[in-house]
Amino acid sequence: MATTSLKLVTIVAEPVLESQLVKDLRHLGATGWTIVEGRGEGSRGMRASDLPGANVRVETIVTDDVADRIISHVADRYFPHYAVIAYVTDVAVVRGDKYARRVC
C-alpha cells in the first residue's frame, strides 16, 4: 500500500497547558491531534496539580516543516517555564494529503 513519510510530534505537558497547546498546534499548521491522559516524572519535579505528575500526551502527525515549527515553538515558549517534553518520530501514513493544510 502506498504510504507517505511524515513526522509524528509527541508533546508531554502539564494539563494546564492543554488548551493553549492545541491552539498553538492549529495555528502552526497541524490538521489534527490525539490526546491521552497520563502521568510521569522528569527532571523537573513538582507540578501544579492535585494529582502530582498528571500530564497530557499530545500527538500530531504533520509535514516536516510544520514539525520543525512546532518543536521550535514548544522549545521557546514552554521549555523555560513549564514541565514539557517534545520529540519527533518518522511515520508512514496512508493518504498523506490529509495531514497538510496546504500543498507542501
Binding site: 494539563p15 494546564v16 513538582m46 507540578r47 501544579a48 496539580s49 492535585d50 494529582l51 502530582p52 513549564y82
Partner: protein, 328 residues
C-alpha cells in the same frame, strides 16, 4: 456562651468524623498505603458538595432581607483586596521571597478554599447556629479579587502584559467553584424550600457523609505534600499558621461589624483565613509559571488547610462569640 471555651470547642471539633477522616487519609499516606479515592469520584464529590451548598443557601435566601446584604458584601470585597496584600507584604519583607513566589502564595491566600468554607458551615451548624444563607455569594465576591490581586502583585514589572490576568479572571469567574455555588444559589432561590424537598435527601441528607469521604481523600493528597514540609522551611510553616489567624480574626471582626450573626462571622473569618488549593493552583501555574509550586501547594494544603480544619475554625467561632458579646 458560658462554658464554651476554646479548649472545649477544639476537643469537640477534633472528635468530629470530618477531622478524623482527614487524619486517617494523612496517616495512611504517610505509612505508605495505596488508599485513594478514584479521581472521578473525588471530582464528583467536589461537584456535589459545591452545588449542595449553593442550593441550601438559595432555599433560605428569601428569609434574608436584602438590605442586610450590602455591608457583608463590602466586608467580603475588602477582605478579598486586603488579604493578598497582607500575605504578599509578609512574604516579601519577613520571608524575603522573590516577587513571583510571593505573588503566587499571596494569590492562594487571597482566594478561598471551598472545603474550609464548607467545614466552617459544618461546625457552625453543629453548635446549633446558622450562617446567613447568602454566604456562598460572598465567597464569590471574595475569591475573584483575592486571586487577581495576588497574581497582579506577582506579575508587576514582569513585563508580560495583562494577557494572563485577563485569561485568569475569565477562568476564575467561570470556574467550576463559582458556577456551582452561584448556580446552586440561584436555583435554590428560584425553586424555594418547598419544591426543593424531594431532592433534599440527596443534597442535604448525604452532605455530612459525603464531606467525610471527601476529606479522607483530601487527607491522602495533603499527606503526599507533608514530605515537602522540610523543603519549604520554618518560615513558610509559621506563615501558614500565623497569617490565617490574622486573616481569620480580621474576617470575623469585619463580618460582625457588618451585621453578620455569630455563625456568619465565623464562616466569613474561615473564608478569609483559608487558602485555595483547587481553584488557585492552575491559575497561578498559568500566570506565574516561574513560581515554585512546592511553596504554594505545601503551604496551602499541608499547613493552612489542616490548621484551619483542626484549630482555626473553632478559634474563629470563639472569636465571633467573643465579639458578639462585646458588641451587645
Amino acid at each position: 456562651m458560658t462554658g464554651t471555651s476554646t479548649a472545649d470547642l477544639l476537643a469537640a471539633n477534633l472528635l468530629s468524623p470530618f477531622v478524623l477522616a482527614f487524619t486517617l487519609g494523612v496517616v495512611a499516606k504517610r505509612l505508605g498505603s495505596n488508599l485513594s479515592l478514584p479521581k472521578d469520584v473525588y471530582e464528583g464529590l467536589a461537584t456535589y458538595l459545591l452545588f449542595a451548598i449553593g442550593l441550601k443557601g438559595g432555599a433560605r435566601i428569601a428569609q434574608a432581607p436584602l438590605d442586610q446584604l450590602l455591608a457583608p458584601t463590602g466586608a467580603a470585597l475588602a477582605l478579598g483586596l486586603i488579604t493578598p496584600v497582607v500575605a504578599f507584604a509578609v512574604l516579601r519583607l519577613a520571608g524575603r521571597l522573590s516577587r513571583v513566589d510571593a505573588g503566587a502564595i499571596a494569590a492562594h491566600y487571597g482566594s478561598v478554599s471551598a472545603v474550609t468554607f464548607i467545614a466552617a458551615q459544618g461546625l457552625v451548624q453543629q453548635r446549633g447556629d446558622v450562617a446567613e444563607p447568602f454566604l456562598p455569594a460572598l465567597l464569590a465576591i471574595m475569591e475573584v479579587p483575592g486571586l487577581v490581586v495576588g497574581l497582579a502583585l506577582g506579575l508587576a514589572g514582569a513585563g508580560r502584559g495583562d494577557r494572563p490576568l485577563r485569561q485568569v479572571f475569565h477562568e476564575i469567574v467561570l470556574g467550576r467553584t463559582l458556577v456551582l455555588l452561584l448556580g446552586g444559589l440561584a436555583i435554590g432561590a428560584a425553586v424555594g424550600a418547598e419544591r426543593l424537598a424531594p431532592v433534599q435527601p440527596f443534597f442535604e441528607g448525604l452532605f455530612p457523609g459525603a464531606l467525610t469521604l471527601f476529606l479522607l481523600e483530601l487527607g491522602v493528597v495533603a499527606g503526599a505534600r507533608l514530605g515537602d514540609l522540610r523543603r519549604v522551611g520554618p518560615f513558610l510553616l509559621g506563615f501558614g499558621i500565623v497569617v490565617p489567624m490574622v486573616h481569620g480574626v480580621l474576617g470575623v471582626v469585619l463580618g460582625s461589624w457588618a451585621g453578620l450573626s455569630v455563625g456568619g462571622a465565623t464562616v466569613l473569618g474561615a473564608m478569609a483565613a483559608s487558602a485555595s488549593y483547587i481553584a488557585a493552583p492552575p491559575a497561578v501555574r498559568l500566570a506565574l509559571p516561574d513560581a515554585n509550586p512546592t511553596y504554594y501547594l505545601t503551604a496551602a494544603l499541608a499547613i493552612t488547610f489542616p490548621f484551619n480544619l483542626i484549630a482555626g475554625i473553632p478559634l474563629y467561632y470563639w472569636t465571633a462569640l467573643w465579639v458578639a458579646e462585646r458588641m451587645t
